[in-house]
Amino acid sequence: MDFLFNIGMYHFLLLGLFLFLIGLLGTIISKNLLRILISLEIMFCGITLNLATFSVYSDGTHFKGEILALFVMVMVSVHIAVGVAIMLNIHGFKGTVDVEEIGELKG
């Protein structure tokens, strides 16, 4: 009970871990490229949460880690914008965004 009601570092870390695993699972099993991008975003959220958590619980006086996390989120959104642009081009060439259809790496 004590663990449930006293919110501490472990809760945030566990939340980050769950977000990461959800994202990883989504990346592996989804067929749609857009869903894969969203799952990647979720993974990044988990990682960023991890970063912010460590920052808060290790050094409470400065905001270095929190600010870095904000920058990381901005970078991730830029990265997603690039990903969506590539996805649109793939759609233009192939007519589909199904990863089963557009694979060309078969050995």
């Binding site: 592996i28 894969i36 990863v99 694979g103 790496l105 078969k106």
Partner: protein, 626 residues
């Protein structure tokens, strides 16, 4: 003169152009006329002849002229420098002159001789290829280059022997020619590799130039310090073996007999005068190496003398004109090796010159006789023609055999020089063997003359175009006499006029040869007893050397080869197949995981990371950290 030396590359380019003209005619729909092919070819060789004559007289003025060498670097492997180059000196200009003179006449002759042949273009293509590669061989400045063109002229010879390839017998013969030729090439290659090995392993100053002919004298004596005498002898023997095979010396002269399946103009050009002289050329070039080992001179002398004797003996019994001429060629080349063996290279080259013209003329006449008198048959019995109806042909033949048997013209001076030098340096046995060879030479040549021209009365029409070439060649035979006074640059060369001042020796040689001719007269026309039938059959079949080689290949090499084949099939092949099968199986497993789906790759990597984490955890628990 400087013009010819500066533009020497032209004589390489022109045969290639003539070759291309014939080539285009052969392999594309569009084709040049026969006239164009012939004229381009003859013109290119005529230009080459102008070069050859100019260079010859520049380098044979009686005073020593510095050799001209151009070379460019071709390969640089450590301390080994292989260059491609042109070396113009006394030897190469002489060989070039012989080559160009004879190939002009032969190309001219072939125009009418081969006119109704279906592969006319191919013939001229190969002819020009041969002229090109032989030019490059005699002008080559180092051994590697010589080796290169040595192989090419061997291939040209093979292709010409296989010219009538639709005939199975011709294919068989050409195969034997090629295989025996390869034996010589391999010896040359082995000798070169030994020299290259020494260049790599003994860093002395001159090592880079060992392969070059101009520096051979100095660098060979430097190397003599490292080689033992036996080593030098064996290396020289390899090169000498290559020369022996190329010059058709006993017992590997059999290829020359097989090579008589080639068209007759080719026998005149390649198998009588130019290609077979490549062996003499190589020996003259490598004399600085040969001189260093004591036994080499004697080896050359005895090999040459043995060949000269044995092949002359075989030639005596032949009834086939081309085989007789082939054995005669081997025999005469043996005498040239004898001349090299007693270290008189100038005599050898002069002998070569006179022999080349006379033998080429004999082959050209033989071609005309085969085609117009014998209807394709090569036997004396089928080509009896009247001397009175064909005075020009008979005169040409007579002059050629006069020169070749050493009674008159250049051949006399050549034989006389050799005779003198042999008398100075060698025992009575050697000299008397030489006399017997002279006797037999005169005998078989005059025997063929009497059999062909004096024992029949068929009227045979030989076209005037052929007769013209024969007469031109006859003038070359007579003109070759002139060169005896011109070739004074080598040491040990007697002056032509000094010979004539020794009447005893002169008379003895002439008497021996005339006796041979008289014997031939008696045997052919007065029906004297010839050789006993057993000896005759033995000599006619060339001492059954063919059969011996066939026996060796059937009963010695064949079992070895079949054993090797079994080993190849059941051991080496099995091993290689196993490797292939194993690789295939493994790659099937690996390829299975390469689905091309990036998500599966991601899943795999996550799985592997989890495995690594679990492994680390287990290890951590194991060492008690947790």
């Amino acid at each position: 003169m400087q013009f010819f030396i500066d533009n020497i590359l032209l004589i390489f380019a022109l045969p290639l152009i003539a070759m291309a003209i014939a080539f285009i005619g052969k392999f594309f729909k569009f084709s040049f006329s026969k006239g164009t092919v012939v004229y381009s070819s003859v013109t290119s060789t005529l230009v080459g002849l102008i070069y050859a004559v100019a260079l010859y007289f520049y380098y044979h003025t009686g005073v020593t002229v510095e050799p001209t060498e151009f070379s460019m670097n071709w390969l640089r492997l450590g301390s080994l420098n292989v260059s491609l180059g042109i070396l113009i000196d006394e030897v190469s200009t002489l060989f070039l002159l012989i080559l160009m003179l004879i190939s002009v006449v032969v190309q001219w002759y072939s125009a009418s001789y081969m006119a109704d042949d279906e592969n006319f273009d191919l013939f001229y293509f190969l002819l020009n290829l041969f002229v090109f590669s032989m030019t490059a061989l005699v002008l080559s400045s180092n051994m590697v280059q010589t080796y290169l063109f040595w192989e090419i002229i061997g291939i040209c010879s093979y292709l010409f022997v296989n010219y009538y390839f639709k005939n199975a017998k011709v294919s068989e013969a050409s195969k034997r020619v090629l295989i025996i030729d390869r034996i010589g090439d391999m010896m040359f290659c082995a000798g070169l590799l030994i020299l290259i090995y020494f260049i790599f392993n003994y860093p002395i100053d001159a090592s880079g130039e060992l392969l070059s002919y101009t520096a051979l004298t100095d660098s060979a004596s430097d190397f003599y310090v490292y080689f033992s005498d036996t080593g030098f002898y064996l290396t020289s023997l390899l090169f000498f073996g290559a020369a022996l095979v190329k010059s058709a010396q006993f017992p590997l002269h059999v290829w020359l007999i097989d090579a008589m399946e080639a068209p007759t103009p080719i026998s005149a050009l390649i198998h009588a005068s130019t290609m077979v002289s490549a062996g003499i050329f190589l020996c003259i070039r490598l004399l600085p190496i040969f001189n260093l080992s004591e036994m080499m001179a004697d080896t050359m002398l005895y090999f040459g003398l043995a060949t000269a004797f044995i092949c002359a003996f075989f030639a005596v019994a032949q009834t086939n004109i081309k085989k007789m001429l082939a054995y005669s060629t081997s025999s005469q080349l043996g005498l040239m090796f004898t001349a090299l063996g007693i270290m008189v290279p100038a005599t050898a080259t002069y002998y070569l010159l006179t022999h080349a013209f006379a033998k080429a003329l004999l082959f050209l006449i033989a071609g005309a006789l085969i085609k117009y008198a014998g209807n394709g048959s090569l036997e004396y019995a089928d080509m009896k023609i009247s001397r009175k109806s064909n005075p020009v042909t008979a005169l040409c033949y007579f002059i050629a055999i006069l020169s070749l048997s050493g009674i008159f013209f250049g051949g006399f001076f050549a034989k006389e020089l050799l005779f003198e030098n042999l008398q100075i340096t060698n025992s009575l046995a050697v000299v008397s063997i030489f006399c017997i060879i002279c006797f037999m030479t005169a005998y078989y040549l005059f025997k063929s003359y009497f059999l062909i021209f004096e024992s029949g009365c068929d009227v045979v029409k030989i076209p005037n175009s052929l007769k013209t070439t024969l007469v031109v060649m006859m003038f070359f035979v007579i003109g070759a006499t002139y060169f005896v006074s011109n070739d004074l640059s080598f040491g040990g060369f007697c002056d032509a006029f000094e010979i004539l001042s020794e009447p005893k020796s002169v008379l003895s040689l002439i008497i021996i040869s005339v006796l041979g001719a008289l014997t031939a007269y008696g045997v052919v026309l007065k029906k004297w007893e010839s050789l006993p039938p057993v000896v005759n059959g033995f000599a006619r079949n060339g001492a059954y050397i063919d059969k011996i080689f066939a026996f060796i290949s059937d009963y010695i090499f064949e079992p070895i080869a079949s054993l090797a084949k079994k080993i190849d099939k059941y051991v080496i092949d099995a091993f290689v197949d196993f490797q292939a099968t194993a690789t295939k199986t493994i790659s099937w497993f690996v390829a299975y995981s390469q689905g091309g789906n990036i998500q599966s790759y991601l899943a795999h990597s996550v799985f592997v990371i989890i495995l690594i984490l679990v492994f680390c955890l287990v290890m951590a628990i194991g060492i008690g950290e947790v």
